[in-house]
Symmetry: C2
């Protein structure tokens, strides 16, 4: 692991990443989008317990940070879809480690 | 990455890990404890903005899940220290990936 325990660089890097993805809902939103492009309603349905306001806020934050893309189709009513960017897909290794830890340490 | 997008096993494993470490403060608490054993006051000082109640709750949850150990020394007043278990130290790879993503994707 790259950790250098007294290094401000690692501290800053970790805090920066956590400021973008460091909430339970954000992890789960990204996890859903790994399966492919999704509409708001699909995300809301698969994320039991999330409020529309929280979902909308998290999606807006992720879009602003370039982790996901929002595409609006000029239909009536307009169709809105969310999908991962390359930056977002680069997060997959983190999810792999989260899963590995559970499989190795929680069984 | 171990992700099998439609696999319930990956879903369950991810949610289980997030249920234990999936909050911003928990990541930062663990990050502090990687530097070594700490007392409550030391953790509180280095985690600007956390309330004593939230810190106490997060530490209790981590202890209950076997991620950290709480040691109470019979002094007056009693000295209380927190340190990582092997299960906790196994989380380091997740932190490595969080740092790597920031260094690769946010610069």
């Amino acid at each position: 692991m790259e950790k250098c325990c007294t290094c401000e660089k690692c501290n800053a890097a970790l805090k920066e990443t956590l400021s973008i993805i460091g909430s339970k809902w954000t992890f789960l939103i990204l996890w859903n989008l790994y399966e492919g492009t999704k509409q708001f309603s699909q995300l809301q349905k698969s994320l039991q317990g999330i409020s529309p306001k929280t979902l909308s806020l998290r999606l807006h934050e992720l879009e602003a940070k370039g982790v996901i893309i929002k595409t609006v189709y000029p239909e009536v009513p307009p169709r809105v879809e969310y999908s991962m960017t390359d930056k977002g897909n680069n997060l997959k290794d983190i999810f792999g480690e989260l899963i590995k830890w559970s499989n190795n340490c929680l069984k």
